[in-house]
Amino acid sequence: MKFAKRYLIPRLISYFLVIWLGVTFVFFIPRLTPNDPVMRMVDQMRARGSTMEPGTMDDIINDLTEMYGLEGSTLEQYRDFWVRLAHGDLGVSFFQFPAPVTELVSNALPWTLGLLVTTTAISWILGNIIGGLAGFYTRAIWSQVIDAIAMLLRPMPYYVFAFVLLLLFAYVWRWFPVTGGASLGAMPEFSWVYIKDVLWHSFLPGLSLCALGIAVNFQVMKLLVQNVNAEDYVQYARLGGVTDTRIVSKYVIRNAVLPQITGLALSLGQIFSGALITEIVFGYPGVGMLLYRAIVNGDYNLIMGITLLSIVGITTAMLIVDLTYPFFDPRVRYS
């Protein structure tokens, strides 16, 4: 009970508040910027050369106004926006009319989730293990070499790094495919050939996400371990003749990794944004690619839907990561 009161309930409250703030942002962006999304879309249709009678145009404008929920006062619009969101209704896509946004996103989502979950897990685990060892054996040559590599990788933004990988591996050396999630015409099936094909296509996007993720986790973990190393109990264990292997695996890494769990939760939003960008660079058929096509086609509704779903998805994932924290830290569990 105490746990629920001190940990669970405040966490749930902040969860809903963050979603509320995010959705409110999304609601106000088109209303505070100078352009009207409806007139924008009408202009686009005109620019594409579709001519129609004045009456039809008015109908379209009315339909679009309704679709964007732009009727009535701002307060009413805000309420309707929430009602629609609560029903899971994010409107229809414009460039793939009349496919609902939710359907398009849920078709693309497995690709993104597969890439994201795998790379996040790999980079978190590997980054922490390597960073932990490097922090413990600071003076070793390999530790300093990895540190130097991380110093080079860490500052790169996803787009630039992914772009460099693509240039080198796909254009210059041609080891990996330039674009796509699977070979053209390959039917999704549960066979070794297809799985191998998908893995081969996702290698470069995965590598770009993993390399940057490992570099970040490595640096943070190394610093954490260096701090834990200075703690009295580690010195005591050393003086007491406990072997280094045992100290680092049982005492040091286990204590240093706790802040990293919170860190993982906090960085999920950035990792997700990074994954979207990586998908665009590599033409990987996930949510990022959907976003790109929406941008190119000026499909504001689809972008809005992707943003809303991402906000809910990321905050939920963070909540789950945070709620598992007590399983790793007995101090939270018992208090």
Partner: protein, 283 residues
């Protein structure tokens, strides 16, 4: 001066310093450019690097080297607008939240933490979609500034929280120093090093986002920046046509810039934080 000499002992600071000086020189050179960056077909198209055109020319008939000087300058302008303004917000929010405490602190911290969580990239895409044709250097810089402060405000807040408990705060208050004077005279000097290192980080963040948005075509593509240069090169198939000088110029310039800015910020903050300095020197 001694500080600078000490900093030069760090190889990262040395390299970063040299690279940034070169980049600054390039930015300054743009004022002496013989070509107007907005005009096309001022030089022969698709020429390889030569004595006349140091980095060749592109398919739009522009000189890559001189175009790059404008790109570097404009990218720096965006990042400076973003970094300076978001620093102002971060200092204000951090000081107020840390010093006032209570409800004000909770509200400000909540807003900041939420901005850290929300996928800002998508928010930027949404805003850029709406104002694409007005997306010049200043608007872009302002947009990034409005969202770029939370993490740094958090750092400043926690610093002020600990400063507030120090004895000199009580001495100052008891001897009648006003809040504003206390904060400006006593607290700001403590936070200056932190503000400086976050300024550099924010600059590199802003440059990165500019490149990302420009590659997606969400900024005004007639203004040369590192991002728009990359956009033109990429979408004119510079890779497939093997015009390496065109695509590699913005790629290498931006890589150098990111690494140099990061190394500068790391070396300075390590220098300012004695704990890590001791670890590095091995004392």
């Amino acid at each position: 001066m001694k500080t600078l000499l000490d900093l030069f002992k760090d190889y990262r600071f040395r390299h970063a310093f040299v690279v940034l000086v070169i980049i600054l020189v390039m930015a300054v050179l743009s004022f002496f450019s013989p070509y107007d960056p907005t005009l096309w077909h001022v030089v022969p198209r698709d020429m390889k690097p030569s004595a006349e055109h140091w980095l060749g020319t592109d398919s739009n008939g522009q000189d890559v080297f001189w175009q790059a000087t404008f790109a570097v300058r404009n990218s720096l302008i965006i990042s400076l607008i973003s970094a300076v303004i978001s620093r102002a917000i971060a200092i204000l929010v951090g000081l107020v939240a840390g010093y006032k405490g209570g409800t004000v602190d909770r509200v400000l911290t909540f807003i900041g933490d939420s901005l850290l969580v929300i996928p800002l990239f998508l928010i930027f895409v949404m805003i850029a979609m709406m104002v694409r044709e007005h997306m010049n250097l200043v608007v872009l810089g302002l947009m990034l500034a409005v969202f770029g402060w939370p993490w740094d405000a958090r750092l400043i807040r926690s610093m002020v929280l600990s400063l507030r408990e120090r004895d000199f705060t009580k001495t100052a208050l008891l001897s009648g120093t006003g809040t504003v004077k206390l904060v400006l005279k006593e607290y700001i000097p403590f936070t200056t090093p932190l503000i400086f290192s976050t300024l550099i980080n924010n600059m590199s963040w802003a440059i990165g986002l500019e490149i990302t948005l420009a590659l997606l075509g969400l900024v005004d593509l007639t203004i040369p920046t590192l991002g728009t240069m990359l956009n033109w090169a990429y979408f004119s198939h510079a890779i497939l046509l093997e015009r390496w000088w065109w695509i590699l110029t913005p790629v290498i310039l931006s890589l150098l810039m990111f690494i140099a800015l990061y190394w500068l910020s790391v070396s300075i903050s390590e220098y300012l934080d004695p704990r890590t300095r001791i670890q590095r020197v091995g004392a």
